[in-house]
Symmetry: C2
Subunit: 363 residues, 2 copies
Amino acid sequence: MKKIEVKASSKNYPVYLGSGIFKSLPKLMKSHTQIKNLFIVVDSNVNSLHREKIEKLLASGYKKIKLLEFTSNEKNKSISTVQNLYSKLINNKFGRDTIVIAIGGGITGDIVGFVASTFSRGVKFIQVPTTLLAAVDSSIGGKTGINFGNTKNLIGSFYQPDFVLIDTDFLNTLPEAEVVCGLGEILKYAYLGGEQFHSTVVNNLSNLIRLQPLQTFRIIESCIRFKAGTVEADEKESGLRKILNLGHTFAHALEVEQNHSIKHGQAVIVGIVCSLFLSNEMGLIAETYLDKYLELPLALREKIRIDKCNVVEIYKIMLRDKKGRGGKIKFVLLTQPGKILIDVEADEEKVIRAIENGVSLFV
Amino acid sequence: MKKIEVKASSKNYPVYLGSGIFKSLPKLMKSHTQIKNLFIVVDSNVNSLHREKIEKLLASGYKKIKLLEFTSNEKNKSISTVQNLYSKLINNKFGRDTIVIAIGGGITGDIVGFVASTFSRGVKFIQVPTTLLAAVDSSIGGKTGINFGNTKNLIGSFYQPDFVLIDTDFLNTLPEAEVVCGLGEILKYAYLGGEQFHSTVVNNLSNLIRLQPLQTFRIIESCIRFKAGTVEADEKESGLRKILNLGHTFAHALEVEQNHSIKHGQAVIVGIVCSLFLSNEMGLIAETYLDKYLELPLALREKIRIDKCNVVEIYKIMLRDKKGRGGKIKFVLLTQPGKILIDVEADEEKVIRAIENGVSLFV
C-alpha cells in the first residue's frame, strides 16, 4: 500500500493506494479518529458489484453504521438529494461526531463531500473512489459540488477529506466506457506533466485500457502526485490550479450540447483535442508537433462516438456560460507537454475552427 | 475608525469599527478587491430605517449591484431561503467574481454567510452587523448556519469574511429588547474575560443600556478582541472556542421550550445565570461569590420576562438534543471570571436545580 501525502493549506491528508486495501478501511479509520459513527453513501452499482466487501465493512464493530445507496447521475447531483441526506443523518441521530464515507465515482464523491462539509459545519469525511476518473482526479483536492439551476457544480465548497482510500480492485468491474472516462483525465495529466510523463502515457495506453495492474498503478500514482502538488500550490484555484481545467471549457459545453449523452471523461478527451487545435491556431504549437500531440487522444477515437453536433451551438454555450456570469471565455492552452498557459483569450473564429477541427475527428 | 485584525488559521481579516463609517464601505471594498459585482442582502427593518445610507451605497459607481431585502427571523433562516438566494444570484447573472454583503443582525449574517460560502465554492463576503449582538459576537469568527429539521444551525460552514464593518450609528435605531440581546453576549464576555473586564462591564452597565457612545465603543472593541483571540487559537471549535458557549446550552433549550418567544440574547442571560448556579452546585463557586457574580445579570432582570416555564421540560430538551446526536450534555462552567471549565458533565438533579434557581429569577 502506497501512502501519498496531500499538503493543502487548509489540511494535510494521505491518499492510500493499493490493491485489495478496502478491507483495511476500519483499521485506517481507527488510526485517524476515535469517532465510531459511520454514515456511508455508496453508489448503487458499486454496492451490487461489491456487496460482500461492503458487508464486511458494516460488520467491522462500529457502534453506529448507516449505509445508503445512491443512484449516481447528474440529475441526482441536486439540492434535493442533499436535503434527503441531511434528513437521513438527523433521523438516524447522527451528530457532529460522524464519519461520512463516499464510496463511488466522481458524482458520489462530489455530493457526499458537500453534505459532509455542511452538516454540523463540517464532519469527518473519507473518499473511497471506485472509478478510474475519481481515483486520478475528482477524489483528490477537496472540490465538492452539486448542480443547481442547470449549471454544473454551481454550489459547493472546498473541503478536504480526512483521507482517500483507492483500492484498485474496484476498477476491475468498470465498464469500458468508464475506463475511457478515466483515461480522459489521465490524458490531461499527460499534457500537464511534461514530455516524460506524456511519453509514459503514450507508451502505456494499451496497458491502461486493459487496466494492466502494474502500469495502471504507477500511472494513477503519478497523476495523484501531480494533482497533489498543484493543490498544494493553489488550493482555492486562484491561479495555477486552473491548469487542471485543460480541455474542460470545451468539454462542459459539449456535454450540454449533447444533452449529457456523452460522459464527462469522454468529453474531456474531445476537449483536449480542441485545446490542441486552438493552441495551434494561436501559434503556440507548430503543425508537426500538433500531429504528434494528437496521437494520444486519437488512439481513443474509436471509443468515443458523437452522433452529430452543432459547432456554433457549442461556442454559444461557452459564451453564454461565461458572459452570463460576468466574464470572458478564458482557455488553458499549451506550447508543449508541461508548458501550460492559463487565462488565454481567443478570437471567435479561431475558437470555432478549433471546435470544428476537434469535434470532426469523433463524429 | 479602529481596525482590529482577526488572524484565523484559514484567513486573516480586519474588523473596522467606528461611528459613521458605513459611507467608507465602497472605499474599503476597493482596497480589498477589484471585484465590481455586489450582491447585497439587507434586513428589511434596517433598510427602512437607514434607506438613505444604503441608497448611497447603491450609487457608489459599482458595475453591477443587486440589493435584496430579507425578513430576518428563525423561520426564514431556512434552506428554502438559501435556494431563493442562489436563484437570485443566477438570475441576475452573478458568477465567481461577486462580493456578497450581509447588512443586518445575527440571522442575516448567518444565512448570507452560508450562501457566500457555497456559491461557486465560495465568493467574497463582507459582514455589516447592525445589532449589538452581531457586532460583539456573531459577525466575528466565521460561523455561518441555517436551521434544518427543527435544529438550530444544523447546516453551516466555517467561512471567514473578507472584512467586517461595524458602524455603531446603526445601533441607535435598535429597540431596547435588541440592546438587551447584545448585552447577553457582552455579559458572557464579562465572565470569560477576567475580573477586570467583568468590573468594567459592571461599572458601565447603565452606559451600555443607554448606548453611551464612548463606553459602548470601548466595550464592543474589547469583546471583539477577546473573540478574535479565541478564534485565532481554535477556529473550528475543537477545544478552547467552546468557552464561547457559556450559558448557551441552557439558552437554546429555553428558547425551544418557550417556542422562540424569548430572543436568543435574552435567553443567554438566563442561561448564564443557570451556569452560575450550576457552577455553585458543583462546588466551583462559593455562595458569597455567587451572589457577587449574579449581580450583573440580575440588574437586567426587569428587561427579561418569562411568562411561565417548565423546568423539567427544559432539561428534557437539553437531554434530547445531546442524546439524540450521540453525546452527553457538557457544560461550560466557571470558578471565577476568566477561569473557565469546558466539557463538564453534571448530575441530573444538580442541573435541574440550577435551571430552577436560574429561571425562577426571571418568571
